[in-house]
């Protein structure tokens, strides 16, 4: 089938920053994203796990954006401005999509 090149950006970020991040993405012209729950993880600031968390303070989510390659840079800048002072990870992968008119 006919597919089209796209970039897949995944941003793992603290739950408390989710609303700020998606707002920044929307301001940067991102038209869609999907949010996955994260169960736990580990990094330079130690490990954490969702089970028994009483505080919203330490949960994380993963925000996935599929975008046209030419839109990557504004997105990364918007995301980076939010993520930079926080813990979290940003990865970019090359992907193909169906229905390119959507992105």
């Amino acid at each position: 089938m006919q597919t089209h090149a796209a970039k897949r950006v995944e941003i793992t970020i603290e739950t408390v920053m989710q609303a700020r991040l998606t707002r920044a993405l929307e301001e940067a012209g991102v038209t869609g994203y999907t949010i996955l729950p994260v169960l736990g993880g580990s990094g330079r600031s130690g490990g954490w796990s969702r089970s028994g968390q009483v505080s919203r303070a330490s949960g994380m989510v993963q925000v996935i954006c599929i975008i046209r390659p030419e839109r990557l840079d504004p997105l990364l800048e918007a995301a980076f401005a939010v993520v930079e002072p926080h813990i979290g990870v940003v990865t970019i992968t090359d992907a193909q999509v169906l229905r390119a008119e959507r992105f």
Partner: protein
């Protein structure tokens, strides 16, 4: 005093907490799903707020309500200054981290408050129903003080996010539910309570047991993970600060001429440290501070201290000093 302390320690509520603590320290995989812990906290907030409102509807409000709210706000705003000073003196925490921790100790832990009311209920000591509203009023001011402590010495004030942060804190789910349930209880009064008391009164202590089981698990995991995060000074702070807070709460309560129960709850609120609203606010406002510092202190040090030793102490003192 000693009897009450023992009775408290050997109550199902505290023993459930100890069970959770022990299970986590022994690395058992016992765990309470996040959604269920959230549900229990919604239940406790709804029940405690509602009962507070009904009690106000029942006994009427006297002039002290306004003064008590004011007293709570002042306590919440002032205690972080004390906490900050102590932390800078005795611990190795830097300015920003000390301010973040201080915010937690000015603010309050609603679960500690709930456990306090449970002790009062079990001893038949009455208290002003509006203390629930005081609890809500004490959540946020401490955050402002902490942010001011940081901003005073730093150029990067990030002031653009301040309004948004306040909106979030003032409208955070716990406060809205607590105040909303308080209002519903006030409006519907004893007739409203009669409709739902077999939901919010009868099973209350049992739900509190399971909730504290989970708190024990979380505190135990916090102790394990937080080992090494806190120096000795910070640890000592986590045990001494509640006593300082309680003393300040005692002063305010005596000043306002409240009942023994009301004074005890003022002590409990001032002695307790937030572990829900303030950590979330600090992650947004001061992300550079490692959250393990304040979560470990407030959840794994101060909360267990208050639950086991602090609460019976505060209740006994409040009773003794009011001749109750």
């Amino acid at each position: 005093m000693f009897d009450l302390a023992l009775a408290n320690l050997l109550s199902p509520v505290v023993l459930s907490f100890v069970l959770g603590l022990g299970a986590a320290l022994a690395r058992s995989d016992l765990s309470v799903p996040e959604a269920v812990a959230k549900a229990m906290s919604l239940y406790l907030l709804f029940a405690i707020g509602f009962k507070g409102g009904v009690s106000v509807a029942d006994h009427g409000v006297d002039g002290t309500l306004g003064l008590a709210l004011l007293g709570g706000v002042v306590l919440s705003a002032a205690l972080p200054l004390v906490a900050f000073g102590i932390l800078r003196a005795v611990s190795g925490l830097d300015r920003t981290a000390a301010a973040a921790v201080a915010a937690h100790y000015g603010s309050i832990s609603i679960v500690t408050f709930v456990a306090g009311t449970a002790i009062l209920d079990s001893r038949g000591i009455v208290f002003e129903g509006y203390m629930v509203a005081v609890a809500a009023a004490m959540e946020a001011p401490a955050i402002l003080t902490a942010l001011w402590l940081v901003a005073r010495k730093s150029e990067a004030t990030q002031s653009q996010g301040r309004g948004e942060l306040l909106h979030e804190v003032l409208l955070n789910g716990s406060i809205v539910l607590l105040i909303g349930a308080f209002a519903i209880g006030w409006i519907t009064g004893p007739a409203g309570l009669a409709q739902i008391d077999s939901f919010i009164v009868a099973p209350f202590t049992g739900v509190l047991c399971l909730f504290l089981l989970d708190m024990g698990l979380v505190a135990g995991r916090g102790m394990r993970q937080g080992r090494g995060v806190l120096d000795k000074g910070a640890l000592a702070f986590g045990l001494v600060m509640p006593l300082i807070g309680a003393t300040a709460g005692l002063g305010v309560g005596l000043l306002l001429g409240m009942s023994a129960g009301g004074i005890a709850l003022f002590m409990v609120l001032a002695a307790s440290a937030s572990y829900i609203a303030v950590p979330a606010a600090m992650r947004v406002a001061l992300p550079q501070v490692n959250p393990a510092i304040y979560l470990t202190l407030s959840l794994a040090v101060t909360f267990p201290f208050n639950l086991t030793i602090g609460l019976p102490l505060y209740v006994t003192l409040a009773e003794a000093l009011t001749g109750g």
